[in-house]
């Protein structure tokens, strides 16, 4: 029995005044892994992006400027955590070496993480988070829209579910970017500074040389509405040409993992 069984549409429990009809995103999908594909690597990279971004967004709990936005950011974090779980489970399945999603999330070392460096940057001010979220969700949405047609049926289903979530994430970030950029002089400067801080990590998102046009057009549209310019700043330095996807991270990554993995490492195999 899965968590969904109790709350799917067929269930007629009237005490659920609201909120029935949940869908299992992987219901009825063939989960066998096609041989000779890079499903494991692809799912691992996308899962790591979601996991680390989710962790940074979750740090806003008790720190957001308004309670409403705190809940909103926590919702976005949970959407991404959900994507991370599905993707890491799939990566573990494709690797077929007995690992689980938990082992991948909590027992890998820094150099084994494949996330882009954008998501691990330390939490800045609210404008910084909105700039990062705008870039991240716009990029990931374009990526997922393409992955809906991925040969791997599980990845395709995860992408289809993710597209709806990311569309909302992008809308939320775009609304705040416009609100702050086209707000007061003060908020305009803070938003512009945030974009400048995030922008050096954009090039790395397109290392595999794809979908940049749609990304640029979408960002330009938001920034125009926000009376902001696309930043002209040099890309962040790499180490011997390597970056996040190669397992080379910024110094913030070690601290993040130390915190995120502390419980799992202090109590190996614990369950609750």
């Amino acid at each position: 029995m899965t968590a969904y069984d109790a709350i799917v549409e067929l269930n007629d429990h009237t005490h659920w005044a609201f909120g029935t009809g949940f869908d299992d995103p992987l219901a009825g999908i063939d989960t066998s892994v096609l041989p000779g594909t890079d499903t494991a690597e692809q799912c691992l990279a996308l899962g790591d992006d979601a996991l680390i971004m989710s962790h940074r967004l979750a740090e806003w709990c008790t720190n957001a400027p308004e309670l409403e936005d705190e809940v909103a950011l926590a919702n976005l974090a949970l959407d991404l955590l959900g994507q991370a779980r599905l993707l890491l489970s799939r990566a573990a399945q494709a690797r077929a070496n007995g690992e689980t999603e938990d082992a991948l999330a909590y027992l890998r070392a820094e150099h084994e993480f494949r996330n882009v460096r954008l998501v691990e940057l330390p939490r800045g001010d609210f404008a910084h988070e909105m700039a990062r979220l705008l870039v991240f969700s716009t990029w990931r949405l374009a990526l997922f829209e393409r992955l809906v047609d991925a040969p791997d049926p599980v990845l395709s289903a995860i992408a289809a579910k993710g597209v709806k979530e990311l569309t909302y994430h992008q809308e939320y970030a775009a609304a705040w970017t416009v609100r702050l950029g086209d707000g007061t002089d003060f908020s305009h400067h803070r938003m512009a500074a945030a974009l400048d801080a995030v922008w050096p990590y954009v090039d790395e998102l397109f290392d595999s040389g794809e979908i940049r046009d749609g990304f640029d057009a979408a960002i330009r549209q938001v920034l125009e509405a926000a009376t902001l310019a696309v930043p002209h700043v040099p890309g962040a330095a790499r180490v011997a040409g390597k970056a996040g996807r190669d397992g080379v991270h910024t110094e913030a990554m070690g601290y993040l993992l130390a915190e995120m993995q502390s419980v799992a490492r202090a109590h190996p195999g614990a369950a609750w």
Binding site: G19, T20, E66, N75, D185
Partner: protein, 140 residues
């Protein structure tokens, strides 16, 4: 299966109450991020003055009408809709949301309870209970 919703709901409501206390505290605090001179917003109003209150109505999948579910703070109608989506439809509750500024609502006063509502208390004939409802006429 246990039902975690009650707990969670009341926790959210509790933090909402605490928040309104926080908000009043916040407005007394010196403005940490005062706008520079010549800021575009020159209305004289403090920038971080607390956002107005909005009432939220959600129509559930099985419901026929929008039901009041709570309130929230937001700076404008679009933000209120987004916040309502994030606060009140997280558990797959809704298919439609209305938001309305709380100060746009005219409410009856508790003092007027008797003249307003008591007179209908003994008029059972106003209920359609004296004839049979034909099959195929739902929602009466």
């Amino acid at each position: 299966m246990t039902e975690p919703r009650g707990d969670e709901r009341s926790r959210e409501e509790r933090s909402r109450r605490e928040r309104s206390e926080l908000a009043s505290e916040r407005s007394e605090r010196p403005v940490a991020s005062a706008p520079p001179a010549g800021a575009r917003e020159s209305t004289g109003a403090a920038i971080n003055e607390s956002w107005p209150l909005w009432e939220v109505f959600v129509r559930s999948k099985r419901g026929l009408n929008h039901v009041h579910v709570g309130s929230l703070h937001a700076a404008d109608p679009d933000m209120a809709l987004h916040h309502a989506r994030d606060l009140y439809t997280r558990r797959n509750e809704g298919v439609s949301i209305w938001v309305v500024r709380s100060d746009a609502i005219t409410a009856s006063s508790p003092d007027e309870k008797d003249p307003f509502f008591a007179p209908s208390g003994d008029k059972v004939y106003r209920h359609p209970t004296f004839y049979e409802i034909p099959e195929g006429v739902p929602h009466i």
